[in-house]
């Protein structure tokens, strides 16, 4: 059959954003926010995230913590995203989130508590409206769409200020219906929502190439009729710039956006995983060269804003912060068994009083 004539009805481009290359050289003029102070603050948070992750893994290895998902090598995504938000925005995290949670004001001790098997860790003292960590893959993206609706509704119907819901997920999560349903709804309802994907190339042992035939994750936005952008996820400036732009766009009523941040999971999936079973050695070595903390450090050193002394001083300071948090974590008492009923409902229904009493050791059967 001869080739039929067709006419074009739609066209889409997916772009990539980078400010700092692997050597820490600026590839273009930096955005306005990128003052030395701001960059140093982000450097500090990334270093802290790395320290917390490292220690958490050690705690798990010594039986002091449950399964823990490190963000090693992906710190720029959490920190860049967190730094791009306003405090009143609502963050809807997944579970690989050390940097972002630190930016949102969640306590290290709270993070440890969560992975230490204690729900109280999710009762964030300083991020009262943010959603808790979310384990069932991609579900938080729909919650974020709902949160975004609420924020829009509260602005339009109840006269509250404009706020944005920002959600994160891994690239594996983009294979799940929730991801797509969330984007599609956010698109058609023009919700103030930003979806940030940590494309760390692996979903446990499943490689990015086995998740989807899409050349980029960013292009999945096309399905929902919303803009999608790919950023260098090891470049904290690019991450922050892209997310901040998307957030302000959303705040101004222009609707949602999808951001794919390219990075690499330099750690095991979690402490329960052994990546050596499936990850090619060479890949990790390659990734090492592109990692975000060293990269930003190079830029700062080249500009004269950073030095070995500053680094030692920072590490000392961060270690102290961490030790204080660890002390709090270790001091934490287990809740009484009855706590498992304390927040099941706003008030415990009569039907469960027997069981509550049994747990309290007051008899019952």
């Amino acid at each position: 059959m001869h080739k039929p004539r067709m006419h074009l009805v739609a066209s889409f481009d997916i772009a990539h954003l980078q400010y700092l290359d692997e050597q820490g050289h600026a590839t273009q003029e930096l955005p306005d926010f990128a003052t030395p102070d701001t960059l140093l603050a982000m450097y500090r948070q990334m270093a802290l995230a790395r320290l917390v992750d490292d220690r958490a893994v050690k705690l798990q290895r010594t039986g002091q913590l449950g399964t823990y998902p490190s963000t090693l090598g992906q710190e720029a995504i959490g920190v860049g995203t967190g730094a791009a938000l306003q405090p009143q925005d609502v963050y809807c995290p997944y579970y690989r989130e050390t940097g972002a949670l630190l930016e949102r004001g969640v306590e290290i001790e709270e993070i440890l508590a969560i992975w230490g098997g204690d729900e109280r860790g999710q009762n964030y003292a300083h991020a009262p409206e943010d959603l808790p960590l979310c384990v069932p893959i991609a579900t938080q993206l729909l919650h974020a769409a709902g949160v975004a609706f609420a924020l829009k509704y509260q602005r339009d119907q109840l006269g509250r200020p404009a706020r944005v819901a920002v959600a994160s997920a891994g690239e594996g999560a983009t294979s799940k219906g929730d991801f797509y349903e969330a984007l599609n709804l956010a698109g058609v309802w023009k919700l103030p929502a930003v979806f940030v994907i940590n494309n760390n190339q692996w979903a446990i042992s499943v490689a990015r190439s086995a998740q989807t035939a899409a050349q980029t994750i960013a292009q999945k936005a096309v399905a929902a009729g919303i803009p999608g952008l790919q950023v260098d996820g090891n470049d904290v400036i690019a991450v922050r710039a892209a997310v901040a732009d998307a957030v302000e766009r959303a705040r101004n009523g222009a609707g949602p956006m999808l951001i794919e941040a390219l990075s690499y999971r330099m750690c095991d999936h979690t402490t329960a995983d052994d990546a050596s079973r499936y990850r090619p050695e060479a890949e990790l070595a390659e990734a090492q060269k592109r990692e975000p903390l060293v990269r930003l450090g190079r830029y700062l050193r080249a500009g004269g804003y950073w030095s070995n002394e500053a680094e030692s001083e920072l590490q000392r300071e961060l270690a102290e912060i961490l030790e204080r948090a660890l002390a709090d974590y270790r001091d934490r008492q287990k809740e009484p068994p009855t706590a498992m009923f304390d927040h099941l409902y706003a008030a415990l229904p009569e039907a469960f009083l027997d069981q509550y009493d049994e747990l309290a050791g007051n008899g019952g059967s």
């Binding site: 609502v90 809807c92 729900e119 109280r120 999710q122 009762n123 964030y124 009262p128 409206e129 959603l131 808790p132 069932p136 579900t139 729909l142 919650h143 974020a144 769409a145 709902g146 949160v147 975004a148 609706f149 609420a150 924020l151 509704y153 509260q154 339009d156 119907q157 109840l158 819901a165 219906g177 929730d178 349903e181 969330a182 599609n184 709804l185 058609v188 498992m340 304390d342 927040h343 099941l344 409902y345 706003a346 229904p349 009569e350 039907a351 469960f352 059967s365």
Partner: protein
């Protein structure tokens, strides 16, 4: 005052809460201009605007998930699933999130939301349109599961569900959506979500049923009454948490009990009720707690659906067996 149907009572309750509470938002498939495929949201979008009564895209998992997100930020979402048979894609958000947000965050965030769905068989609908799988939901900690069986209870219980600080699954027995009319003053008075309703008093036998199955159950009770047997008929209405005490009180009088439900027998709520009666009132029982239920098969396409549903005859037969039961064993 006009008499209204169960369906209209649902609409009346939704309208009442939309008017009373600016945090209430109603959404689902076709709930807007169309007023819902059963017309439960008839006129609401016209009255309250498309910002508060919204048609969603076609995705139940999405509907459940956004309701969670909305509720955590202080809204009072009332989401409709078009039929109970289409609620299954949403189970994850209902079970893993709506029911757990309060517990997970130690009370910091909660999910005051209502998931509504028409449920049950008997209207000659296509496949998947006649489900009654309430037992899946009653097993989930953190949920409330409510089934009204009259216009007044639909109104009062739905008000209570919307105002409840926790997630409620509100199942509307569509077979009786328009079966009977009743005066239901639009006075904003909610009914309790922790009490059974005793629909008929009697001392010879306790019949327990909810939703549309009460139609046959009450008819059976009438028939028994004609024969001089007085059955007490209890509508739990709130299936979870269940007010077993009202049931036990009834058994103090009757000592015999039959539970009736449309759902498949195995693992249906009837088993839980029988087990609890056993636990709380073993000594009272003069006969095993009996069940008249849907069969342990898929709800058939409509030609056989009335062969599947508990009929007055089946209820009567089992009721008589239960009444005639005389302990044959050693005790």
């Amino acid at each position: 005052m006009a008499q209204i149907t169960l369906l209209e009572a649902v609409t009346q309750a939704l309208a009442h809460e939309l008017a009373a509470d600016p945090r209430v938002v109603v959404f689902g498939q076709d709930v807007g201009a169309n007023g819902g495929v059963f017309r439960a949201t008839n006129g609401l979008q016209q009255a309250f605007g498309a910002e508060r009564v919204l048609d969603t895209p076609l995705a139940e998992n999405m509907i459940a998930g956004i309701a969670v997100g909305m509720a955590t930020q202080g809204l009072r979402p009332v989401a409709e699933f078009q039929f109970m048979g289409f609620i299954y894609p949403a189970l994850d958000h209902i079970l893993s999130h709506a029911a757990r947000f309060r517990n997970r965050t130690r009370g910091r965030l909660s999910c005051p939301l209502v998931y509504r769905a028409p449920y049950g068989g008997g209207i000659h609908a296509p496949e998947h349109h006649s489900e009654s799988t309430e037992a899946i939901f009653t097993h989930i900690p953190g949920l409330r599961v409510v089934v009204p069986s009259s216009p007044a209870r639909a109104y009062g219980l739905l008000l209570a569900a919307i105002r409840d600080p926790d997630p409620v699954i509100f199942l509307e027995p569509k077979r009786i959506y328009r079966a009977a009319k009743q005066e239901v003053p639009d006075n904003g008075e909610a009914l309790p979500l922790d009490r059974c309703f005793v629909l008929r008093e009697g001392q010879d036998l306790t019949l327990i049923a909810w939703g549309a199955a009460l139609k046959e159950t009450l008819a059976a009770a009438d028939q028994l009454a004609a024969e001089g047997i007085e059955a007490e008929v209890i509508d739990p209405a709130t299936l979870k948490p269940l007010d077993i005490h009202t049931v036990i009180d009834s058994l103090e009088k009757t000592r015999r009990c039959v539970v009736v439900h449309e759902a498949a027998r195995f693992g249906g709520l009837g088993g839980e009720i029988a087990a609890q009666i056993n636990e709380y009132a073993f000594d009272l029982l003069d006969a095993p707690v009996a069940r008249v239920t849907g069969y342990d098969t898929v709800m058939p396409y409509y030609r056989l659906e009335y062969d599947y549903l508990p009929s007055v005859e089946r209820i009567l037969a089992v009721a008589r067996e239960t009444l005639d039961y005389r302990a044959g064993g050693a005790r």
